[in-house]
């Protein structure tokens, strides 16, 4: 059977079109996953904000002499809450809160009777877990961004990904304050 060149051209065109639609959809799915991963970080940050007042309340009686440390944690939390939508300000405020919490846990190590209290232990575990969750949420976000960026910038998708509005996402990088390894003991 002899196929006319026009027919062959049409088949090729249809195949290319199908491929473009498929990769467009794939990119959309991946971009949504990246946005979802970003939102998950916010969820965990919110959880940390909610836990801190409980912790401060629970330890206040035992740490009369460490008023300054407690104050700094409360203040950092308030600033993080007030930072609003600005990403730059917010990440700075959250980094400051992480640092303040780290300092608080380091100081709490000096209070054996504090570590023996069960409710404080439970709270501390929850905070440790929240710190971990934030880190894992960021890690997951970065993994998703890596997949998405790789998908949108490899040939031949890079030819049209920009045209269709798939801009590259930014990885989450630790602020300088975060790089100084914060020790959180379980």
């Amino acid at each position: 059977m002899q196929m006319s060149p026009g027919l062959v051209g049409m088949f090729v065109l249809v195949a290319v079109l199908i491929w473009v639609v498929a990769s467009f959809n794939k990119l959309v799915v991946q971009r949504t996953r990246v946005q979802n991963a970003w939102a998950e970080i916010d969820v965990q940050l919110k959880r940390r904000h909610d836990l801190i007042p409980n912790l401060v309340e629970a330890v206040r009686g035992y740490m009369e002499h460490e008023r300054v440390t407690l104050e700094s944690v409360t203040q950092a939390r308030a600033q993080a809450l007030a930072a609003g939508k600005n990403v730059r300000q917010r990440s700075d405020a959250e980094a400051a809160l992480t640092a303040a919490l780290g300092k608080f846990f380091a100081v709490a190590e000096n209070y054996p009777q504090l570590r023996a209290v069960e409710s404080v232990q439970l709270l501390q575990e929850q905070l440790t877990s929240t710190e971990n969750r934030i880190a894992y949420a960021r890690q997951f976000y970065n993994d998703e961004v890596m997949d998405y960026n790789a998908a949108r910038s490899t040939f031949p998708r890079n030819l049209f990904a920009g045209l269709l509005g798939f801009s590259p996402s930014a990885m989450f990088t630790a602020a300088d304050a975060d790089r100084a390894n914060v020790q959180v003991k379980a």
Binding site: E125, Q126, S129, N132, R133, A135, F140, A186
Partner: protein
């Protein structure tokens, strides 16, 4: 908490050349599991041919007998019988070609093959789709929830930490957090059960959170959650559906002979109708049915052996009955033998290899989630040292992180005869507390009493006050006879309380477990033994296990950067193993060939017998109809 591990410090080992990132490891294992799934599908198809060849004649026999009976009351048109003869002829053409190498028209041959294979294939596929549809919602491993599973208590530090780690790992994997259930079992282990990531559940044994550090717990749970995310539950479900299909086919063939297979068929039907009621009981029942069906695949005595019991009293009626059912007996035996053989030699090993690859894949994914290969490696080492024994996990053993049956502890816990006697006495003494008077006259052998005790124990877990009283009475009677033995039976009241989250009861159980662990072997008794034989799981039908060896897993983890001291493989052992396998290989091949020949002979003779038998019965009907 672990962030990106600095890799420079991990490199004292001389493994630099074959170091591998976890992304590479994942890719490699994904490719391998694709290849192996193709192999599994092929194996199932190969297994299906003898099965179809054996089941088809039975279907024809059934159809012919029904037609004969109908013919007796309202004579069927002649055209019907002519058609039937035409169909039969095609089958004979194909058989003649196969056995006597008689030349045949390809079209007739194809039709003949269709006549011989199609009905059996269609029936098998229909049963398979039915089983999948029926059990899809229940998923796999529901029976594990019957092991006195409870939710972790958020007010206890370790259990809170468990719940937290699960949440963390689910966030790292971007999955909905699975439900967590704690089981008070002697060994440390974890299993993922369910049907999909949305309704998955992790079954964690309590020693797991007592013995592992936070990093190790993260590694172990990351493995299970990665396994859920990779869709392993789906794969396990497909494998079990094949088992269930074979079990149902066997039960159908057996159903004229005895109550056991009729019972399991009835259970499936009941499950199908009542199954719409959601809840835990539903998944438990599904798993129980799956266990029953798969047990019938293994070669063991069942209805049909009892039916043709050669030791039974001889009588005229019995001989006639045996003669009537003999062809079906032969077919049944051929089906069982071929199923057993193909499961053991082809399908079982393929599935086991596939499952091992999935475990390696989950290991690599776990390293991606935690970025800490040391955690998982440490957990694997500790769990293997511990044994990870979970009594009653036999059927679902492949779902666990390490093989729960590999422990030597279960074997060493078998009671010595003297203890058996004492246990029996105590159990009988406690019987007066039970209101059921019939129990006193129950059987006196140890096994059936143990089953009874186990059932009572489970009832006590569930909170049945009467059962709790009975176990309490037994412990009292025991302590009069042998205080050490009595101390080895956990207090059911504590178990029930722990289930509700009583911290004091949990602590008592922990102390109890430590006490048992410190006992010399043979001094304690495994009271909570499941009535399902531990060797009846799907891992029993394969040459080799479903769990990769610790050494291989650790080797791969080390390649991904874990710092471990794994003893280098003994090269001499390797040579011995190679030579041994080279010597044994011809024998194994010979045995396999003989088995195949036996199956072929059995298939053919069952066909012949069935044909003769059918002709005989058909003649009788024709004779009766004539008069």
């Amino acid at each position: 908490m672990s962030t990106f591990a600095p890799s420079s410090t991990a490199e004292q080992q001389t493994l630099a050349q074959d170091r591998q990132s976890f992304f590479d490891a994942q890719r490699r294992n994904r490719r391998a599991s694709w290849r192996l799934s193709a192999l599994c599908v092929l194996a199932a198809a190969v297994m299906g041919i003898p099965l179809a060849l054996l089941i088809t004649p039975l279907l024809y026999a059934l159809a012919l007998i029904i037609a004969d009976i109908v013919n007796l009351f309202s004579p069927l048109p002649l055209a019907f019988w002519q058609q039937a003869e035409e169909v039969a002829r095609f089958g004979f053409v194909a058989l003649a070609w196969l056995l006597q190498h008689k030349a045949a028209d390809p079209r007739a041959l194809a039709l003949g093959a269709a006549v011989l294979l199609l009905p059996g294939t269609v029936l098998s596929l229909a049963v398979w789709f039915g089983m999948r549809a029926l059990f899809r919602r229940a998923g796999v491993g529901g029976a594990l929830l019957a092991l006195n599973a409870r939710e972790p208590n958020q007010n206890e530090l370790k259990e809170l930490r468990l719940a937290d780690v699960v949440q963390e790992m689910a966030i790292a994997a971007g999955l909905p957090a699975p439900r967590v259930m704690l089981v008070d079992a002697p060994g440390a282990n974890v299993a993922a059960i369910g049907s999909s990531p949305a309704d998955a559940c992790l079954v964690v044994s309590r020693p797991m959170i007592d013995e592992l550090s936070r990093d190790e717990l993260e590694g172990a749970l990351a493995h299970s959650i990665a396994s859920i995310g990779n869709g392993d539950l789906h794969i396990a479900f497909q494998v079990i559906a094949v088992f269930e299909t074979c079990g149902v086919l066997l039960a159908l063939v057996n159903s004229p002979f005895g109550p056991q297979s009729r019972g399991s068929l009835w259970r499936i039907v009941r499950y199908g109708f009542i199954g719409s009621r959601t809840g835990q009981d539903n998944t438990k029942e599904a798993d129980a049915v799956a266990a029953i069906l798969s047990r019938s695949v293994a070669l063991d005595t069942d209805d049909i052996d009892r039916f043709f019991d050669p030791t039974a009293k001889k009588s005229m009626l019995r001989s006639i009955r045996n003669f009537l059912f003999f062809p079906i007996f032969l077919t049944n035996f051929a089906i069982k033998l071929s199923l057993w053989f193909f499961f053991l030699v082809i399908l079982g090993p393929s599935v086991a290899l596939l499952w091992r690859t999935r475990q390696y894949l989950a290991d690599a994914c776990a390293v991606q989630l935690t970025r800490n290969p040391n955690g998982l490696a440490g957990a694997l080492q500790k769990l293997t040292d511990d044994g990870g024994a979970i009594p009653g996990s036999g059927w679902a053993s492949h779902l666990f992180l390490i093989n729960p049956a590999s422990a030597g502890r279960a074997a060493s816990n078998a009671p010595i005869p003297q203890q058996k006697e004492m246990l029996l006495k105590a159990w009988a003494a406690s019987a007066q507390h039970s209101t059921a008077a019939g129990r006193l006259s129950g059987p006196t052998d140890f096994e059936s009493n143990l089953r009874e005790a186990a059932a009572t124990y489970r009832a006590a877990f569930a909170g049945d006050a009467q059962a709790v009283a009975r176990i309490g009475a037994m412990r009292q009677a025991m302590s009069a006879l042998d205080p050490a033995l009595a101390a080895s039976i956990p207090d059911p009241a504590d178990l029930a309380a722990a289930r509700k989250g009583d911290i004091a009861a949990i602590a008592r159980l922990q102390a109890f477990r430590r006490h048992i662990a410190s006992q010399p072997p043979g001094a304690s008794q495994q009271q909570t033994r499941n009535d399902a034989d531990p060797s009846s799981g799907i891992s029993s039908i394969s040459f080799f296990g479903f769990h990769p060896s610790l050494k291989r897993r650790l080797k791969r983890l080390r390649r991904m950067g874990a710092r471990l001291n794994v003893a280098a493989a003994d090269s001499k052992m390797w040579i011995v193993a190679t030579v041994l396998s080279l010597i044994l290989a011809p024998f194994v091949l010979l045995i396999a060939g003989l088995m195949l020949l036996l199956i072929a002979v059995l298939t053919m003779s069952s066909l012949t017998f069935l044909t003769v038998w059918l002709a005989f019965i058909h003649k009788i009907f024709a004779f009766v109809a004539h008069h």
